[in-house]
Amino acid sequence: MNFLLEKQLNLLDYALASLWRRKLKNLGIMSVFAGVICLVASFQFLTASLTATAQDLLAEAPEIVVQQMSAGRQEALPLSYLSSLEELNGVRTVAPRIWGYYFSEISGANYTVLAVDPSVMPKGDRLFQAVEGQLPSGPGEAVLGSGVAADLKLAGRRSFSLFRPDLTLKPMQMVGVFKPDTDLLTADLIYTTPDAARDLFAIPADHCTDLCVYVANPREIGTIAKKISVILPGTRVLTRPQISQTYRVVFGWRSGFASICLLSALAAFVILAWDKASGLSAEEKREIAILKVLGWQTGDILLLRCWESLIAAGLAWLLGCTAAYLHVFWLGGALFKPVMLGWSVIHPQLRLLPVVSTADLLLIFTMSVVPYLAATVIPAWRAAITPPDAAIR
């Protein structure tokens, strides 16, 4: 066998035996390290999964949403805009929508109220496919997100009431609920008919809050959005890529913030490892000195320490990432979901899509294993370049 390969195998064999000799100490370090890696990896996986889940759910959302703006705030827009949008080349269909928020003073939760006529929506919209029960059609009928249904404490009842702006009660009837796998977008949602929503928010009958524009060719989204801005000045034109980007930014920001906190923990661990390794025990120093006297080069000792650290840190990385996978995709990221999804009263209970990229794994490896290697190998190098005569007498 090749000399260099045989030498590496010998050093690897010795490193494994060496780790086993100090198994209690090494197991302790590996457990703490795996725990820290698990926390960092959980955030990374959770961010990737939430972004992927949101992108998946947004895949069939309207390509363009038009809203009326006045003094920098959104207000209802007239349905008369509809015809001018439908005339634009490349527009498949335009659906008026009412989208608003209802604050429940009883629970302190904010519900999202959405109303759109299914007959004018393109076939196959996943919002309608995600309904268990019926779609709302009669007066006051609504489909509720799981969070709203729980928050209203209906307990088997189907009827409930919401307050209009003038504090009169608007009677409603639950005719269905959204499936749990759409929770990220529907947990706080009340989906009802346009007439019911107008009644609830006191919006005039010939107005809506926004217009959903569906485009035939996705490549023309940007061009059509620009045209809409020109023909309807004073409106805000949002494209689906912009909304997707917003989700990415929101999750990315939260993940970044949390990662900074966790990286501090990782840094603390590496400093601890450095401190521990730089204060090599007398036994470890003696072993290095013996190996040196017996003809081991400084490089051989560094290679040995590299193997030891790589095995310990690599195992910790493997354990940490596996634990993070189980935590995020089996336990739903229970520890961190509140941070990533916000601290709202109504919490999405979605099942996360398992998304783990090689880049994420490599990033975690680089952030954790490499600093640990440096923290343990450099002190060993310092011990190895010290003349060994004193230590072996």
Binding site: M1, L291, L294, G295, W296, T298, I385, D389, R393
Partner: protein, 230 residues
């Protein structure tokens, strides 16, 4: 002063520790000596006399601060650590006062430690280590952890380890300090046998069982870092 058959030649060798600092110590003062190939000599002196430092320089563990050291034909004075190590592992076998075995490793693993960075495979390591242990009569202890065997057996493990690379020079630092008189005689008998096999042996000791050995070719007295010729 160097002879063509001298295995070890030191010429005005000095060793100064912590040079230029407040705690500067001169361990050796211009020591000159030569040891012929195939001979057995003893460095005799009290603790702190400089024997171990002299042995460390001969063993290529530390370079001299000044002077010339030629070990197995190679001048070492200016060699960097990397080349000192290469020369050491191919030419020097060490036997330490404390034996310096790793107690958690087996006897065989201790003996074959010097072979690991040389890329010698496990089968060959077992063969060479086994032969040496059998020659020293402790092959039955090969798989025992070194921490569980007796002092005499440890000494033989240390000898086997020193011989594993078949070096021409054997250095022993106070090798009988932890042995009773019977084991000390056995140790000297083993050294005498190695000498007859052509090894050059340098023993640092102040044990009379060593210094009185008839197998010694020469005794070099070391006192206060100098060769004492009185």
């Amino acid at each position: 002063m160097a002879d063509s058959v001298d295995m070890i030649v030191l010429d005005s060798v000095s060793k100064i520790y912590n040079r230029g600092r407040l705690n500067e110590v001169t361990a050796l003062h211009e020591v000159s000596l030569a040891v012929a190939s195939g001979s057995m000599v003893c460095l005799r002196g009290a603790s702190g006399s400089g024997k171990s430092t002299l042995l460390s320089i001969i063993g290529c563990v530390i370079p001299p601060s000044s002077g010339r050291a030629i070990i197995a034909g190679k001048p070492l004075s200016r060699l960097p650590d990397r080349f000192l190590t290469i020369h050491r592992r191919s030419h020097i076998g060490f036997i330490f006062q404390q034996f310096n075995v790793l107690p958690e490793l087996t006897v065989l693993d201790n003996v074959t430690l010097p072979l690991l960075p040389l890329g010698v495979g496990p089968a060959e390591r077992r063969r060479r280590g086994g032969e040496l242990l059998a020659g020293l009569g402790i092959d039955h202890r090969a798989s025992f952890p070194a921490g569980q065997i007796s002092g005499g057996e440890l000494q033989r493990v240390a000898i086997a380890r020193a011989l594993i690379n078949d070096p021409p020079i054997i250095l022993a630092d106070e090798p009988t300090a932890h042995l009773d008189s019977k084991l000390s005689r056995e140790f000297m008998a083993t050294m005498a046998e190695l000498k007859r096999g052509g090894k050059t042996i340098v023993i640092a000791s102040h044990d009379s069982l060593v210094t009185d050995s008839p197998d010694l070719d020469r005794i070099i007295n070391v006192k206060d870092g100098r060769i004492d010729v009185s």
